[in-house]
Symmetry: C3
Subunit: 396 residues, 3 copies
């Protein structure tokens, strides 16, 4: 080295390679590998009440859609642009039989059939040739689920034991505020940054413990022993924390395909099977939101578990306070719009994250080989899916 | 099909092809087919008063320009960046003989000649080699017209009978508020979405009738019989509405090349030849505005015809009210920044739209063949152009 | 020419070629020619106080960085994204030994060594393999300087006589408000537009004289005789103004590589060697800011020389006032995000600008040939650099 002498700096930022992302795992658009995988499952796209007499504009997996409920009570989900001249049906009028475009009055039913073309002779003699692109929807657990995939691979809408079997005094509640996201309802980063965080069990005592004060119960602040495993539906993390009295706080969390958060409430010191399920909905490649359904004992209980940092809700914090009390929102949005995976250094405590990616890649391979991904079931009468997730107290 | 059984959904949004636009008809930049066609005509770029002692920044057909009026009363239109070092002349100072750049003081006259270079010896011995790019302008009907095309094909600035022959008590008025656009002065979508709407006669009873209440006269709410035809200057639509007393409301509207709205007032129950002309000015590929000149009986009459929806002007409506009372702005901006023509399904009532596109394509072909497009005339003494447009009452 | 007759317009804007920029001189990213040249020098990236217990997000030459000061008082500059999972260290916590990421608690010292991995067994047995990319920093003259280039070519941090040799009663002061930029602290255009302006001596009587009133001393409003020359460190401009009493106001300004403003105060009628040095820091290709250090007689004196236009500071002016009283900000931002050099017409009074570009190109050639650029010195004990810059009164 013909340098000018002196000790040479090592490890500086100079000359580092251009970073890249694992787009095959992150991107959600139609025709992309992950976009096609996600399209093999049902996803919640709104609360039941979001399908109403006023059209609602949605963005789902990079597609612009309009949700409504016709006069007969049927929810409808159609692509945003009218099949006639492309005006958005957001400005349409919901009627007894469907939604009518404001521009020339074409009327479509919830499965896209064109019922009227009022500017055409006889209301449109060839209107039956026209179809507004639509997607099947179904209502369950207070949510509107949609299927955006190939019709011939449409699975049955799954049932979950956690939401089907209620204890005395419990009722179901649905929420659209992105519980668990740590911030506003729409979170401006790629969905995978949140989803793989579900199996990133060991960040809890750091981010939610020593950094931003005890956001969760005191037990959660202890460093756990964690093991991870692939399950029939995704990945599970088992965390054991030895308590001062010699008992063991045994906690199981699951990341279920395609995007389910099966996470026991970290803020309540109860020992029970998981009480809620969250669905991470990618709006597009760089934003997502979370829909949640759960068993509650009083209305509003689901939303009441939203994080408070320094005693305040996220939207009440100033920027200096966000910097001082970061949560999941800051940690994950702080990875950038789409994480730069080429710059990561995964270690042994990241095995859960690595397993999530491995299971996702296995499903991409399954699709490429013409098989169905895990968790897809075509039997509408299949029994509800049971999860292992929960907080439990073990004797030793 | 090896599907899982059950009835198969048809017509869903899955797997639809990537949409596309007819960019040869929509894009307006220099060197594009439509950009070159539009550059063969004069376009209004401001009100007479917009050319003044304070430089005004304009965007026209995708070009950044500066409009001013020198101390001698001559309007000048130059490209925005100073020929010397590129500083925008928006910060220039208008003087007796032209506009002076703020940076080094170069002075340009209205045809771009460099008159002074005060930082150079002797005020610039070679300044006559410098030319600030400029465009010819002309004032008529209260508007500043500009020609951005090839000098050797510069047509005469047309005269129009509708604006030359005034009835007793009438005077001319000009307006820059985008009358007919249904929204603010600058409308954020491609100009063609508005221009072809001129021949989309049958949307009137829907969008402006059943949807947003009777915005126009009661007659306009009736479904008309419409015929369309190509004229010497563009396309015309003839709408006949049979009135309860047996007479016929006979209405002719015209879309004149390049971008003229020759539309009889739909809000006044008068029977007369068309009283105003609008020019749709593409600012760039995704925004436009409309300049209008017309015969009025009192000042402010032109602007007084602006649409009210639910009793309010567009800018007074809330977003829920815009959704409930859509107008031309919502219908056309709702087609997207540039409409996705590949997803359209034109029907018989869209013949007017199809004719507009056909006439435009014919002119593109004429240009490609080295011919001048229709409506271009090089004779400054040619008689005013007369339109058929108007509202008339026929006996049967 | 088969035109329609009439006189043909010449010099119009029609058909002008697509403009281009000299990106080899303007772009600052790693791996670009100018980006690599700039990376051969130290640049100030903050005031001494900006390195503190709260992490500070910086953008320098297109790179996202985080600046902090550890509990031991050492300033640290690291790339923004944590080497572990990419969360920005802006949300990190500064501790005695370094900065700790909020997500999983990895702790890095000021040279990027990973000291702790609290989620790993034994705090991370292989943590020494990890290095957070960092850059060397040094404090001098109240500023934090950083070196982002190849370690083996790291020069000594230069000393300057103007800041080392203080007259009685003088002290040093540093400023981050972009003195000389004529606007806000962050200026939204390419850095070169400002830097080459330093040698654009003749704009002063125009922009800062006849346009926006006498911003500087009365002498500066006189048109000077200017000569330019390449120096050992960059380019200098010598301006002589003959005063009414027959004496000569002799002024020397220098543009020193890489980005130094060595400009005598134009607002004070004192005759003395230059009292301050400014550094133009490119944040990225389309924005920059200026750090300044100088000798003062009272605190706050540096900032007190900020321009006032029509009696107001830049941020106090309305848009019409900015248009009427343009300054350096308007002239340079008015050249666009990156100037379009292909449209320029340089003349004899632009020789200073041309020399700046020539010297920069010479350094690009030097780098390409494997040599060091001018002004780079590897001897930490080299004497301070002395500049010729100053305002002086000559007898004739």
């Amino acid at each position: 080295m013909s340098g000018p002498g002196g000790s040479l700096d090592t490890g500086t930022g100079y000359g580092r390679p251009r970073p890249s992302s694992m787009h095959e795992l992150t991107d959600v658009g139609a025709g992309t590998p992950m976009g096609e995988l996600l399209r093999r499952y049902w996803h919640p796209v709104g609360l039941g009440g979001d399908a109403a007499a006023t059209p609602r504009a949605l963005r789902v997996l990079g597609e612009d859609l309009v949700l409504f409920r016709d006069g007969g009570g049927r929810p409808g989900l159609v692509t945003a642009r009218c099949a006639h001249r492309g005006t958005t049906l957001y400005y349409g009028r919901v009627e007894e039989r469907g939604i009518r475009c404001c521009y020339h009055g074409w009327l479509f039913d919830v499965t896209g059939h064109c019922l009227e073309q009022p500017c055409e002779p006889d209301g449109g003699r060839q209107r039956e040739r026209i179809r507004q692109p639509w997607y099947p929807v179904a209502e369950r657990y207070g949510l509107i689920f949609a299927y955006l995939g190939p019709p011939e691979r449409k699975p049955a809408l799954p049932r979950y034991d956690a939401l089907e079997r209620l204890d005395p005094g419990e009722s179901l509640e649905a929420d659209a505020s992105s519980i668990g996201g740590g911030g506003p309802a729409v979170i401006p980063c790629n969905w995978l940054q949140h989803y793989e965080n579900l199996m990133d069990t060991l960040h809890v005592p750091i981010l939610h413990g020593s950094f931003s004060g005890p956001q969760f119960t005191a037990q959660m602040g202890l460093m756990p022993e964690v093991t991870w495993a692939i399950t029939a539906h995704g990945v599970k993390a088992t965390s054991d924390r030895r308590l001062p009295d010699g008992t063991v706080h045994h906690r199981v969390s699951e990341a279920v395909l395609p995007t389910l958060r099966v996470i026991p409430n970290p803020r309540v010191a109860q020992y029970a099977r998981v009480e809620s399920i969250g669905w991470v909905l990618p709006l597009d490649d760089t934003s997502f939101r979370i829909y949640t359904a759960g068993r509650v004992r009083r209305p509003g209980e689901l939303a009441s578990v939203r994080s408070r940092l320094s005693g305040k809700l996220w939207e009440e914090l100033t920027e200096p306070e966000h910097q001082r009390f970061p949560g999941d929102y800051e940690a994950q949005v702080g990875q950038g719009p789409v994480a730069l995976h080429s710059e990561e250094h995964l270690v042994s405590s990241d095995r859960g994250v690595a397993l999530v990616r491995r299971v996702l890649r296995q499903q991409l391979d399954a699709l490429a080989a013409g098989r169905d991904p895990i968790g897809v079931c075509f039997d509408a009468d299949a029994p509800p899916i049971t999860f292992e997730a929960g907080n439990f107290l073990h004797a030793s």
